[in-house]
Homo-oligomer: 462 residues x 2
């Protein structure tokens, strides 16, 4: 029997891995409204300075503070599981391993960054953190982390999700956080939107505006804003996933996986599992690395590498990334965490380099894969995670056709216990696919016109 590979707490990595130190071509800088690179001090009203320093760091290995390690140990190291029953059902010679990030109190990988972010804010003397959340994964993770450090937490949750997913708000409340529907009457940004569109369902763009406004307008300067993906420091914190997985594979005698897979929305989950293995790839290892996204929001597979804002209201700097255009409105697929118009600049650069090869899957195919998974492996995956599962199953079938033993590794980004409505609709035949029409893509990309263009710098090594 070998269904899981465990690490003891004293085997947990003591450092995060910063891939910025190893990329063959340097990252292009975020740009301010004037078209010039953003300076650290410009971000100081929004983020605490210790996090800003981490955001721009070029150090390869960054120590995880002892107090952060203590909190991560509440659920980490997470199990590396092997999908033995699924392998049998598929009749594949491939070994399918997955890193189970669903074991955290909030049920996803998000607390891996929420905990250090809450810690650094606390160290910097911050008393309150604001954030936005779409489907609620990040908001609940930050609520949990703030409870551990005794920091106030205020979450602006997109109105339509707030109404459709009341359980996420309840989770945040259990951890003592305040969660309001966005747009709200508590900020100028919210009031402005409500005056014009009283019935708006809200958007991440609006919610970001409200959260940032509340952070920067605290007269005592004791409030900051936090983001759950996209930025360098968030991806850095998530590399603990892949660093643990490496040790675990080595424990069962696997020097390297052949394929590494992660679903990719803003990029933090994918980066978490993939970046430590990219280090091996940069050093010559033969590893296929697949970020997986929905065909309805095909940022990496069909959009250009361009400078764009992270939000629709253009409050964030211009970031060099794959982007569908900030005004892109994703169809209502159930994988709420994969509906972002852009992609983390670090992930984008690894795709430009050819270190990662993006793939896209349809929603219905992902739900079919998730059902097969649940009925063989037991655990019910989040809709986001089902994209990685669909890809893993496809690769396991290929291995069978080729008659090749392969090791497939993917990140189980979270469980689906809060997302059962999507499963019910799928089983009732109520869901459809939303492949993005070419003309809609062209229309959406028009918002990029007139912006500076990044150089798609590529070393040509991959």
């Amino acid at each position: 029997m070998s269904f899981k590979v465990l690490l003891n707490e004293d085997e947990m990595p003591r450092q995060w891995y910063n891939i910025a130190a190893d990329l063959p071509t340097p990252m292009q800088p975020p740009l301010g409204p004037d078209g010039n690179p953003v300076k650290a001090e410009d971000l100081a009203p929004v983020f605490p300075m210790n996090i800003i320093e981490q955001e721009v760091s070029q150090e390869r290995w960054i120590d995880i503070p002892e107090e952060v390690l203590q909190k991560l140990c509440m659920w980490r190291p997470s199990p590396l599981r092997r999908a033995v029953n699924l392998e049998k059902a598929l009749g594949t010679p491939a070994k399918i391993y997955y890193k189970d990030e669903g074991v955290s109190p909030a049920g996803s990988h998000k607390p891996n960054s929420a905990v250090p972010q809450a810690y650094y804010n606390k160290q910097f003397g911050i008393e309150k953190i604001t954030t936005e959340t779409g489907a609620g994964q990040w908001g609940s993770a930050l609520a949990f982390a703030c409870a551990l450090f005794g920091i106030q937490c205020k979450v602006y949750m997109v109105r339509i999700s707030f109404d459709q997913k009341p359980f996420r708000k309840m989770m945040m409340n259990v951890w003592g956080a305040d969660c309001v529907a966005s747009p709200s009457t508590q900020t100028q940004a919210g009031r402005d939107v409500l005056a014009k569109h009283p019935d708006t369902p809200g958007s991440l763009g609006i919610a970001i505006s409200e959260a940032v406004e509340e952070a920067v307008s605290d007269p005592r300067g004791k409030t900051r804003y936090a983001l759950g993906s996209v930025l360098n420091h968030v991806l850095l914190h998530q590399t603990i996933i892949g660093l643990e997985a490496k040790k675990q594979l080595q424990k069962v005698g696997i020097g390297k996986p052949d394929i590494v897979i992660g679903c990719a929305g803003g990029g933090s989950n994918f980066a978490g599992i993939a970046f430590p293995f990219m280090l091996d790839k940069i050093n010559g290892a033969d590893i296929e690395i697949y970020p997986v996204e929905p065909t309805s929001c095909p940022t990496l597979t069909r959009a250009p590498f361009a400078y764009d804002h992270g939000d629709v209201a253009r409050m964030t700097p211009l970031l060099p990334m794959y982007t569908l255009g900030r005004e892109f409105v994703s169809p209502p697929i159930h994988a709420g965490g994969l509906r972002y118009h852009g992609m983390a600049p670090l992930v984008s650069q690894t795709v430009v380099e050819g270190l990662a090869t993006p793939k896209a899957f349809d929603q219905l195919h992902c739900y079919e894969s998730a059902l097969l998974w649940a009925r063989t492996e037991g655990f019910i995956p989040a809709p986001e995670t089902s994209h990685a599962i669909a890809c893993a199953i496809e690769e396991a079938k290929k291995a069978k056709e080729e008659g090749r033993e392969k090791t497939i590794l993917f990140s189980w980004s979270g469980h689906g216990l809060m997302d059962l409505v999507g499963y019910a609709k799928f089983m009732e035949g109520q869901l459809i696919d939303f492949p993005l029409p070419e003309e809609d893509l062209r229309e959406s990309l028009k918002s990029l016109e007139g912006l500076p263009k990044p150089v798609a710098a590529k070393s040509g090594k991959w």
Copy 2:
């Protein structure tokens, strides 16, 4: 750092512990409608014979079949965690350990018995299992287990829960089970009730009748019924919890805990954590063992030890147990798993013997304890589990007053992610306590009049 104690798969117990072999006074038999002890063959239309044999076994140790071990390994051995943050918050010298049964795919301890039950039915050639479920924990566990063994599963879910907790039905459907609201039109029992009371909210008693009727009326004889608590074989399967916990405590140098706690509804979770430690107590160890129930359903703390039926419709044999009377209707507390009128005969006998000392807690106090837990330890407990937490906190405070280092161990029977509505109502001040009035208890106990009386056999050793 030592937040959790892990076992490898090869350290998992290979046998279950049957406390019937060690009770100083023999169990009194279940009685049939004629007042005579029930014979094994009387049960054959309802349960497969291999399970009936286990139900009446007097063997101390019973081998866990290899195929069952393989399935249990999907999530077992479960972690033994230490509530370090809570200990600090309480300032207690006590060490609080808890066995996390929430890590199973269905989120509770129930799959520990659902998996072997599905296995034994499969071995016996059974193709379909019927069952009833109240709040849905048992129904979803059995649905999961049946998916693993390729057995059809039909769950009769009490109508009011079916309507109030749609997510549990969705879980069962994900695992391929059929879940219908009870009373249904699919059985004579259901149709009879609907004819008289078309708007009935249903009850466990009615749902049991429907599930048993469907099982016994399969003309091919390929359908059987399964129960998720109360019976000897169910409690037997759950002893893996305590057997693992013992090994885990030994790993951190703790020869025995001072206090063992489990919430008790039908008794399977409590028995699972407690019976292996009762073996030590029978052999002379000094251990306090507390089953914890709600004050609103005080079976062990205020009801008599009597012969009573397991269901309101009197379809089950008479069992010797603590009982509030089979017609007892529990107030609508959120701990749905603790609203049963009776208690497992084996657990009841350990209380008669003085091996276990029951305690009862109010709903509001349990929710307060659960919130303190979630904000220090992160994980959100099920409302049932919060009863064990309330007791553990009380004991940790006592240890502080006494200035004594103690080891407290409890069973975390499941997570509360499917039960967030109860938390929301508690935080909004909408919940109340329901201490059982003396006159209601007297009224409810009238249903025991005229039934045979068991002897409250007590060895006098404790």
